[in-house]
Subunit: 186 residues, 4 copies
């Protein structure tokens, strides 16, 4: 049994929708359970008991949401100092308004998360372009849901935009199952 | 009179279209001329005689086009070593297919360019969201033209998508005029 | 008279030392005053009354400190929504332990800040390599003070490592004076 | 048997030294062979027959060497278009002069490579801080060898600075062995 921990913050529900779709993908894989925890509530115990850590963030001002960063600075940092998560699996997803047709900073927001994930020593699962749903909600680093239309009206995420998150969850759970108990890093 | 040098590479013409629109913006500002040079043809003399350097790149595999990088590594590097361009003005623009609705790496491609521009010591002109045309071809780092539709059919850049480039050219020329002959860096 | 606002967070005093050195540089330029405000205390009024915004952050887990990000998400974002700071001047600095000889994520931390600065529409002042003190505390994006020795003993910042911050402050104040009242963005 | 392909460019030999150390690490793992290929010589056949792709680059002007980018744009792109490498293993390393004590752009250079690696759909192996040799040649994204002293004299890489590369090679080979023939991505 592998446990995939999904930590996220959400303003208007889009990141949460993606988190739930990702959890559905995890649960569709044999021997895999998903645990959804809001960034404000996540504790080091959640980290220590998981096999994979997935972090989801709204895109704010071109980078990570401050509540997600607070979780990283105050919770993940302790696990990092003590090398507690090395060799587990990591991934990222994000939602945003996508102001300006170029993603509005979604890539740097995801990299702000991935930098932490790399520091923790997690194997990173990217999102290949052939993943179902990639065209409407994908970036190579992970699922990206653009919640606003081009004219910035808040249309919300469609079901189509949740498909890539679900498949990302499946990929992550499979990698976590394969790597479980592996000795990679001395 | 200020001279704005625009160096670019282009595969199917989109980056070139943006370069020309940006040049039009430059020329619409008093006392300002634009010089368009392909990356393969750019020489250090072009750099030494300009007041502003604008670099345009197609997005390839999530970062800068290799021809643009060759220009940076083999031409700009010499000017950098000798501190020749410090205090001039710099900016970036990019075009891409935008595979995957999150910009397909456009942001890191632009930052690959901006890293060079920062090393050269150029004052960086960003693209504010209120710039005309931002919604359909803008990122905070500069104009970004997505040349494909969501289903990846190659629709090309529309006239609407060139408006932000033109205005970026105007902003750059204005800054170059104001900073001309200024003593900023000792 | 130009007002340079320096917003920062600090854990053990290194970022604060850099902030003060930067302020000294600002004040050494004619017609320039510096205002130091901790991220927790910064309000939108500080932003509206400044001519240049400089943000300093400790490097935590490879990106921006969460308190600085909270300032950006909850204070800067309002000014961004209303296009209130466009055409002002912006810059960044950071301190960190530099775990691992490659800067330990200092570059992405600085870019997390600069993404916000670009979105606000600020002209970005980089740090050219010929700046005094660059060798011991410089990155092209701005001053970077590594507060730990290679063996990670907390040696603190030396006076040498504050020189680049002071000169960055001088550069920023000069640019702010030149651009004051300029009409760049329509 | 897994095959780890190491593609790199090198100016003065530092990146090549790291490539060879990484290959030594690969070969020390059971059932693992390493293949060293210069970027100019790498062909799509090399990519198709490998189980892991490791790309090494000198840091030039804050990002990837243009010869490495040419390999990515002209060789990797074909494999990407056809989804040929999805589910393999990927990693990065870099060497540079480290001008300025903050790594001189090493992080964005590594991310320029990783963006390609993520697009190819490779599982990314980071470098945890407890890896032997991390303190003198490590960044969370992979080994980083700073070839110059602080005063920029070209001291070259010491043996100590090659240790993290060797261990990175061991980690990569182990992951490649575990993931071989796994079905992760549908």
């Amino acid at each position: 049994m592998v446990r995939v921990l999904i930590v996220y913050a959400s303003d208007h529900g889009s990141t949460e929708k993606m988190a739930k779709a990702l959890a559905d993908g995890v649960k569709s894989v044999e021997d895999s359970i998903a645990e959804l925890v809001k960034a404000d509530d996540a504790r080091i115990e959640h980290l220590l008991s998981c096999d994979a850590l997935v972090i989801g963030t709204p895109v704010h001002m071109g980078s990570i949401d401050w509540r997600v960063k607070k979780f990283i600075d105050t919770v993940c940092s302790g696990a990092w100092m003590q090398d507690k998560l090395i060799g587990k699996v990591g991934a990222v997803f994000a939602s945003g308004s996508g102001y300006g047709n170029g993603g509005g900073g979604c890539e740097l927001a995801m990299l702000s998360v991935l930098n932490n994930i790399a520091e923790l020593g997690l194997l990173i699962v990217p999102l290949p372009k052939k993943t179902p749903g990639y065209k409407v909600a994908g970036l190579q680093w992970g699922p990206y849901g653009r919640a606003h239309a081009e004219d910035l009206s808040p249309k919300g995420l469609s079901d189509d935009q949740l498909v890539s998150s679900k498949h990302h969850g499946m990929h992550i759970a499979r990698v976590a199952n394969i790597l479980k108990d592996a000795q990679i890093f001395e």
